[in-house]
C-alpha cells in the first residue's frame, strides 16, 4: 500500500465526487476512504487512496488531478500521506 491523500476544496457543484473518482479509476488508483465537509461555505472532500498500482508516474497523476481541478474550478491536491502523519502524530 502506498497511501496518498487527495484533497478537493472549492465551490460545491454537481458531480465532483463522480469526476474525481472517475479520474482515480482511469489511473488505477484505489479509493480507501472518503470524507466530505463544508467549511466556511467551501466544499471540502478528502480521499484516502492507495496508489501502489498507479499506471503512470506520480507527477503525471498529480498534474492530471491539477488540470481536472482547473476544469471544475476547484483546488485539487495530491499529497503523500506521510506529510500529515509526521506533522500531526508523534
Amino acid at each position: 500500500m502506498k497511501k496518498t491523500v487527495i484533497s478537493v476544496i472549492g465551490k460545491d457543484t454537481v458531480g465532483i465526487t463522480a469526476r474525481v473518482s472517475a479520474k482515480c479509476a482511469e489511473y488505477n488508483v484505489n479509493i480507501i476512504d472518503i470524507t466530505q465537509s463544508v467549511l466556511q461555505d467551501m466544499f471540502v472532500m478528502v480521499m484516502l487512496t492507495d496508489i501502489a498500482a498507479l499506471n503512470c508516474k506520480f507527477k503525471d497523476f498529480s498534474e492530471a488531478m491539477d488540470s481536472l481541478g482547473h476544469e471544475l474550478n476547484l483546488e485539487i491536491r495530491v499529497m503523500h500521506e506521510d506529510i500529515f502523519n509526521s506533522m500531526h502524530r508523534i
Binding site: I9, D33, V46, L48, F58, R77, M79, F84, M87
Partner: protein, 451 residues
Amino acid sequence: MINLNDILETINMIRQENLDIRTITMGISLLDCADSDIDVSCQKVYDKIVRLAGNLVKVGEDIEAEYGIPIINKRISVTPIAMLVAVSGGDPVKYAHALQRAADTVGVNFIGGYSALVQKGFSAGDIELIRSIPRALNETTNICSSVNIGSTKAGINMDAVKLMGEIVKKSAELTADRDSIGPAKLVVFCNAPEDNPFMAGAFHGMGEPDCVIHVGVSGPGVVYAALKKCDGDLGAVAETIKRTAFKITRVGQLVGSEAARRLGVPFGIVDLSLAPTPAVGDSVARILEEIGLGVCGTHGTTAALAMLNDAVKKGGVMACNSVGGLSGAFIPVSEDEGMIAAARSGDLKIEKLEAMTAVCSVGLDMVVIPGDTPSEVISAIIADEAAIGMVNSKTTAVRVIPAIGKKAGEELNFGGLLGEGPIMDVNLTASPKKFIDRGGRIPAPMQSLKN
C-alpha cells in the same frame, strides 16, 4: 484515517500561510580536490560538485510534487575555499568561476563557501581569498561568501575586522551599477556554524562528513496565523508558537530524511529557523506586532523577539533528530515585509536592531546603509556584533550593504528573496577610526574557559 481537521490544517498552512521548506542544502567537502596546480584544483571542484549534486534539484522537485510542499531553494555549501587556496596558490577568483559553472550545471540557485575562517589569525590562503571577495562577488551571480572573524573560544581578530570593513565597502563599489548587490552575498560572522543551510553564510565545516544534506525550514506566516487566533497571556503565546514550530519542523525532518535517502548521503541537521520573505504574510516583524507591539522596533521588541526565538527552538527540538545551523528567528531587514515597513517609517533603527541580535539567531542582516559610510564605521559595526556573539556564546553576523551614491531615506531593490529596503541612518557623529586602526586581537572572554 487521519483526522479531517488535521489534513485541512496542513493544506491551509501551505495554500494560505506560506508554509514551505526554505532550502535543501547539500554540504560537500572539497578537501580532496586540493591540488598544487590551481587549474587542476578548480576542475576537480567542478567535477566533484556535479557528481554529487547532479540529482539534487530533481530530487527536490520530486519530493515537492509528492508531498505537496513547496521547496523554495536547492543549494550547495562547500569547504571554505581559502583552504584550497592554501594548497594551490594562484588567483582565488578562479575558484569562484569554477563554483559558478558548477551552480549553472546542476541548477542550484546559490553555492556558499567562498569563505575563510580567521577568528584567531590568518593562515595561508586566507588574506588572498578575503582580498579577492569583491572581485569574486562582482564576477559571479550565484556564489556566496562568508568570513568568520571571531569566536567565544578565540576572541575577535580585529585585523580581520578592519579588513572586512574595507572589503564590504569595496564589494559595494564594484557592484554599484547593480544596486550594490555584492555585499548582499557576503556575511561576516562570529561563531559561524559549520552546518548552516541558509545563505549567504553557508559553508561546509571541517568536522562534517564528505557529503551531507541539511534542511532549513521556514514558516513565519504559519506562526502569525496561529497567533491571530490566540488571545491568552504570554505563556499561551509561547505555547502556541511552540506547537506551531513543532509542526513546521516535522515537515523539515520528513523532507530532509527523504531527500538524504534518495540521494544516498547522510542526513545532517534541520535548521529551526523562522526565515521571512518580502511576501505579505511571511514576516517575523508582523509576528512581533501580533504579540502586541505597535510596530517592530518599539520598546518591548527585544523581549518579544527573545520569547519568539526561544519558543521556536523549544517547539522544534523535539520534532527532529538533530538540530543545527542557526536555528532561531531571522531578522533580515530587506527580506521581511514588516521590517521594511518599520525601517521606512523610521520606527526601526540600527541601534534597536543591534539589541535584537543579542536574542535572535543571527545579526544585523540585510541592512542597507548610506554609501558614504566610512569603512572604519562598517568595521566598528562588525566589531560590536562580534562582541555580542562572543560574550553570549552565540552566532552573530553582519550583512550590511553600503548603497553607493545614495543617502539615508532612499531605497535599494535587489529583487527576489533578497528583497528591497530603505537606507538606514548610521551614527557618524564621532569616528571609531583609532579603535579600529589599533588592530590586534580582542582576547577570548571568561566564558571561553569552560574546561
